[in-house]
Symmetry: none
């Protein structure tokens, strides 16, 4: 898709990402979004908030790439240098974008602030740029077509960058580079380990011509992305793999586990409640990340203390004394309890040791019980997760959602 | 510390990090290690496993930086191109390093493997390089002093890279660049808008010589980072700014809002419960992200439906009917209710419209009420947040934590 054989180049601007103070998640997000429309990334550069360094990086990117992203440093404070750097490099003026200015005025009015001269600069854009509204903030995204190159400018705040990309820039690029793309299909799976499943996946894919396979593991599951120039072959291969991997595949589209679970609940007219100990509210947070989740999710209890497990969820004192809070028996009572307290058809329960403290020999850090109550029955799974406190919480939460999904599929 | 005013440059080699398949944690680790010895990083470049791209990146780094790191691609399989690229660029031969070879032989013997010709290549180094043993693997680290530049080569496996850095290369660089370090201080704030506060911050910082200021906004607040060559001046400026910004500053160290709130609760021997509607468990999740939070956080209720608000939290049907779920009156009853149900000293309550649906003219998407109950009183704040569903949930959650912090500080 380029001058030469290389792909897109991403320039990330910001002292904080160069200094390692803040992790750069933006470049990986962009690279994955590009894969989704069949485009590759060749190079990522991170530079400080320094005008000459930004210029040098963008100029060098324009030499070798036809598609260049510049992210961060679009704000209005003195350390935001990107707009000036790019405007000088391309020899294009900065102008006020009327629509953006109107939007900023409205936002300031809503929050009861006076619109300062400095704040008006949020509406500055490169002359001739296509402007993409920022649904999550003030600084808009821009695309500049310049001497056979496409330059995309995005704010550095991850939520803003992803919103602008998804709603505006990716659809545009899909059109723009449409003829050079590859087709791809995704299989979103849960409960598979990359190194163990890869030989089987390769075995299947080998039967279809020109398919390449990518594995994208995360705490929310393993995505397997197939790509190739022949759309029909890609789709046939995806169907076959989906058959081979069975219930481990939870979606064939860009849908999350919580969305899939929500669809099953909605279609079956079932309601859901959550009882969480070690996840501390994360399961509820993930479920309510889906718009319209109030149709099936009624609420939950975060039973962080044993007192709350007993008083609110009705877990028996005897159960806690005999088996402990992290046990199969306790999650069973928590799952049934939440169905009764919130009045739902299904209940999810999680209890475990997220660490770093609190582990013992018989019950180590990472030991987590998850339970699902549905139709007078309770399913329980025992896991030992490794990782940081955050990772253990996330693995527990997604495993609980996946258990519910599998229980509901069996009906 | 450089030719010009810039800092170190880090070149990360690997298809997997460019495509976003694997996150690059190495560059942040190196940059933070350098900060620890007072050195800055100016630029990070990620390139694919391609000899000419590696050469181009390293050559460009050597033009502007006196300290260059090249990480990854040092192994012995066909996709490892770094050693060849650097050896050609510097016009230095690759030679077998006797000590490394002996070590590799011993490692192979220990594991009962035969030392193959391929495996011997693990001992290849750039002629004239200082070689640093790899305590976590086979490929050693190297430092090459070349025409007034220092080039550090490191394997890409994070555990190996960090072990070699910590045990060998960082101590060496501390000696080598000892006289050129910088100091920094952080002020973590909540409730400030970058564009509004910047003029005041600049006004204060101007009185201290050689201080530069960076702003790092996120949904969890605005971090202001001061840096300069004079440690005393940086600290005095931070103290003065802290005084000027008052209660908006929640920490002067690398601590999150939930950690700070937790410390206040622990010191005052107070317990906390949460009642969440639109945040769906996120407040609980953030609070329980802090290790040891079970000392003060007993639990909460996710009251997503009105039924749960009434049945579990005791919100009056009349209140919901007259004022609605998203109202000052409802969050008041939720905050008090959770203190009673969970049996805690303080209660946080959040109710709002996270969108994208469900907004009306009088109650638009983004309208959020937060309440804090403490000692028979309830404080309520009304916000209108903009952004995606996720952003609105996060802003609500952090605002609620910050309200609790401010209430507790007043005692």
């Amino acid at each position: 898709m380029v001058k030469g054989t290389s792909g897109a180049e991403i320039v990330i601007v910001g002292d904080e990402v160069v200094s390692g103070q803040v992790g750069d998640t933006n470049s990986a997000f962009i690279a994955r979004s590009l894969i989704g429309i069949g485009l590759e990334t060749a190079r990522v550069v991170r530079v400080r908030d320094d005008e000459s360094e930004i210029k040098r990086a963008v100029a060098s990117a324009l030499v070798s790439s036809r598609l260049v992203f510049v992210c961060g440093g679009l704000g209005v404070t003195p350390d935001d240098k990107t707009l000036n750097a790019v405007s000088e490099l391309l020899e294009r003026k900065l102008i006020i974008h009327k629509q953006s200015l109107d939007r900023i005025k409205t936002l300031f009015e809503h929050q009861g602030y006076r619109l300062t001269e400095l704040a008006k600069r949020h509406a500055l854009v490169i002359a001739g740029a296509m402007v993409f509204e920022n649904p999550a903030g003030m600084v808009p995204g821009m695309v500049v077509e310049h001497q056979n190159s496409t330059i995309c400018l995005l704010p550095g705040v991850p939520q803003e960058l992803s919103a602008i990309l998804e709603q505006g820039i990716i659809p545009y690029l899909k059109q723009r580079f449409g003829s050079e793309r590859k087709y791809s299909a995704v299989l979103r799976t849960f409960g598979l380990i990359e190194s163990r499943i890869a030989p089987r996946v390769t075995g299947v894919a080998r039967r279809y011509p020109g398919i390449s396979i990518g594995y994208y593991p995360s705490v929310a599951g393993l995505d397997i992305i197939l790509s190739g120039a022949d759309e029909a072959a890609v789709n046939r291969c995806a169907d076959k793999l989906s058959e081979v991997l069975g219930e481990r595949v939870y979606a064939l589209k860009d849908k999350g586990l919580a969305e899939v679970v929500g669809e099953i609940l909605r279609q079956a007219h079932l309601t859901l409640g959550t009882a969480e100990s070690c996840t501390g509210g994360l399961v509820g947070d993930i479920i309510t990340g889906v718009k319209g989740s109030s149709d099936y999710y009624l609420g939950g209890v975060i039973a962080y203390s044993n007192r709350t497990k007993m008083d609110v969820l009705g877990v028996k004192e005897k159960t806690l004394a005999r088996y402990g809070a992290v046990s199969s028996q306790t999650v069973k009572e928590m799952a049934k309890g939440v169905c009764a307290v919130i009045g739902t058809d299904c209940g999810i329960a999680v209890s475990g040791i997220a660490g770093p403290g609190g582990g013992k020999k018989e019950k180590p850090v990472g030991l987590v019980y998850i339970g699902v109550a549905f139709r007078d029955k309770v399913w329980v799974e025992r896991h030992i997760f490794s990782g940081t406190r955050r990772v253990i919480k996330e693995r527990s939460a997604y495993s609980a959602l996946d258990l519910l999904r599998r229980v509901l599929l069996k009906g």
